[in-house]
Amino acid sequence: MISQILTAIGAMIFGVAVCAAYFLFSNKLLDLIFPAKEGGDVHRAAVNLRRRSLIRPWLFLGPALFLLAVYLMYPVVATLILSFYGPDGNQFVGGANYVWAFNDTEFRQSIFNNILWLAVVPAACTFFGLVIAVMTDRIWWGNIAKAVIFMPMAISFVGASVIWKFIYEYRGGNDTQIGLLNAVVQLFGGTPEVWITIPFWNNFFLMVMLIWIQTGFAMVILSAALRGIPEETIEAAVIDGANGWQIFWKIMVPQVWGTIATVWTTITILVLKVFDIVLTMTNGQWNTMVLANLMFNWLFRGGGDSGRSAVIALVIMVAVTPIMIWNIRRANAEMKGR
């Protein structure tokens, strides 16, 4: 145990030191090659200054650009190419993988489930987040309530799976139900069920977990946006005799519309990539497969099929592309306004 801790600490220091050393020494080296004072030669010094300021941004950006290129940009191209090749990535098969995908029942099931997730989870998180933000802003212990609702953000999806598996726990025969859901159902005279195996509805039991995790995120951001609403607009509405319902839908919601869109988008991206929950709860059994897990399965199933998993990865990529474009446009507009 002790030796393992020491190895771990050594590895950590080494990793961070290599990174820090790069920035320190590359900049020192640049100053050394193009010194600021070249024996009183003002012209040379000026040239050196210009050269340094030409090179230094790339020293600063170097590691970031290298990592982005290798880990995010190259893979997009490589995955695209691989999608036209066979299981081991060596034999060109044309569009066969795409044809397979659209004829595969499991793939279609995954698409269907993914659409289900996309329709329910971002909407539910945003809606609950907004409602809870409005309500907690109005009570004195709102911050405590917010902390509790925000807390699941810190819990891993795997941890959440243990938590919720325990809630959905089913015990057969006459055993006492120790799962909260079944105990409640029994209390009201219902029959206990094995919740995560009920086709179609089990998808919703998994979604509940993500909603439980992500609502706090939506709440915090929307709460801040609500505080930014000018006081006068609400005062005016109150004077005009609007009720709470009208103020919420006609004054508050339109004013935080941009933030709602941001929250919705962020959660949408998360849903597309969701993997852990399905893996730990059902591993795609009982018709709960989603694209991310199908892709992971094909990556390793029977020695792996890089062609088919590449096709599935590309489908996920295509799904996020509109969001990507929207993001870039918004960022550009923001920068011009500055």
Partner: protein
């Protein structure tokens, strides 16, 4: 502003009630495993965790000592002994007892019960009993079978934690997780901060394009990267004769996947710093490196801290990247992967699962509640701006 919101809408009482309800729904799932992890493993399976504080009652069957143990006491014959520790766990209080399984709680504990045939039986709460007959007992050497209703007080133990930390590899995984998480939090911040400064304050051709690129890459799904990167890692491993699944490998992967968001958030923050400070430092002859280290880094502390918390939570809680780039052998298993394995192998052992889950949740929760202020600030810096 908030005070004004209070004046509108339906009755305040309804809002309080609704929020209490929501808080309960959000809290109960986690509370369930925290409490379960502290319970005795035999109790977990016989009663729901919500009964843990109420104590539990259960019925069990025991035998009294055989009739040959009877002693004479004046005109009576008496058998005495103690039934606790006799298959009833040794803890808990005996509430009542009975002679037939159909009526296991016929008599109250502590008082002599007339059970007919001239016999009286007294069973005390602590398990001691006195079985008395006004004549000799028959020769049967098998003791009398009686049923006990035992109520156990709320009982909590740290045994489950001891088990998972020593026996289930959770302790080792805890260190593995730290080994992955700490460098994978510090390195991306360092790299992203330098890049963010360059994109915010240094002039060079192609800057706008690079910023757009970074924003675009925020959305690229991780799944895209898995296949090509696995191939690169395997090839590098083969060429240099090193294993393809290493700690530096996963540090770089986490760093790269966290970078776009980090650069974007930090650039926004650093670009918002006052222009005068940076320009006056330049006039004084400070190089960009000096400006960055001595001015930008200290000023950006809130943004750096908020991203650090994010990255820490994200890396600590990650399962996919760890499974793909670090593998699942014992020396490299991170907490989430270990917990996932336990879910498969120890499906019904809730004392193991809940205690392990609590160990995995503990550090992020501490970080989360300790630094929540920074976390929220960072969230807002990145998200509300466009709204």
């Amino acid at each position: 502003m908030i005070g004004n919101l209070g004046r509108i809408g339906p009755a305040r009482l309804f809002v309080h009630f609704a929020v209490v309800l929501i808080v309960l729904v959000w809290l109960l799932p986690t509370l369930g495993i925290f409490i379960t992890a502290l319970r005795d493993k035999d109790q977990i399976v016989v009663s729901g965790w919500w009964t843990a504080f109420a104590g539990s009652t259960r019925t069990t069957a025991v035998r009294l000592a055989g009739n040959d143990k009877a002693t004479q006491d004046g005109p009576n014959y008496v058998i005495t002994g103690n039934v606790s520790g006799d298959g009833n766990g040794g803890n808990g209080k005996i509430e009542s007892f009975g002679l037939r399984v159909q009526d296991p709680a016929a008599f109250k504990a502590g008082a002599p019960a007339d059970i007919g045939n001239g016999e009286t039986l007294t069973v005390n709460a602590d398990g001691s009993y006195r079985y008395q007959k006004n004549a000799a007992f028959d020769a049967d050497t098998r003791g009398k079978r009686i049923y006990l209703t035992i109520s156990a007080p709320p009982q909590f133990t740290l045994q489950n934690y001891h088990t998972v930390l020593t026996g289930e590899g959770i302790g080792q995984s805890f260190i593995n997780s730290l080994t992955v998480t700490i460098p994978a939090t510090i390195i991306p911040i360092l790299i992203a901060a330098f890049a963010a400064y360059a994109l915010a304050w240094m002039d060079f051709p192609g800057r706008a394009l690079l910023i757009a690129l970074v924003v675009g890459l925020i959305v690229v799904p991780l799944q895209m990267s898995l296949i090509p990167l696995l191939r690169i890692y395997n090839e590098i491993g083969q060429v240099f004769g090193v294993p393809s699944k290493t700690y530096p490998g996963i540090w770089m992967a986490h760093t790269a996947f966290g970078l776009p968001l980090a650069i974007y958030l930090l650039r926004n923050y650093i670009a918002g710093l006052p222009k005068e400070i940076i320009e006056s430092a330049r006039v004084d002859g400070a190089s960009d490196f000096d400006i960055f280290v001595k001015i930008i880094l200290p000023l950006s502390f809130p943004a750096l801290a908020s991203f650090a918390i994010f990255q820490f939570l994200w890396v600590w809680n990650d399962l996919l990247i760890a499974m793909v780039f670090l593998g699942t052998d014992k020396d490299h298993l991170v907490l989430t992967a270990a917990l996932n394995a336990l879910l498969g192998s120890r499906g019904g052992n809730w004392e193991i699962l809940t205690a392990s889950a609590f160990v995995t949740i503990l550090i992020p929760l501490l970080v989360f509640f300790g630094l929540q202020r920074y976390l929220v600030r960072g969230l807002l810096a990145g998200s509300v701006k466009g709204g």
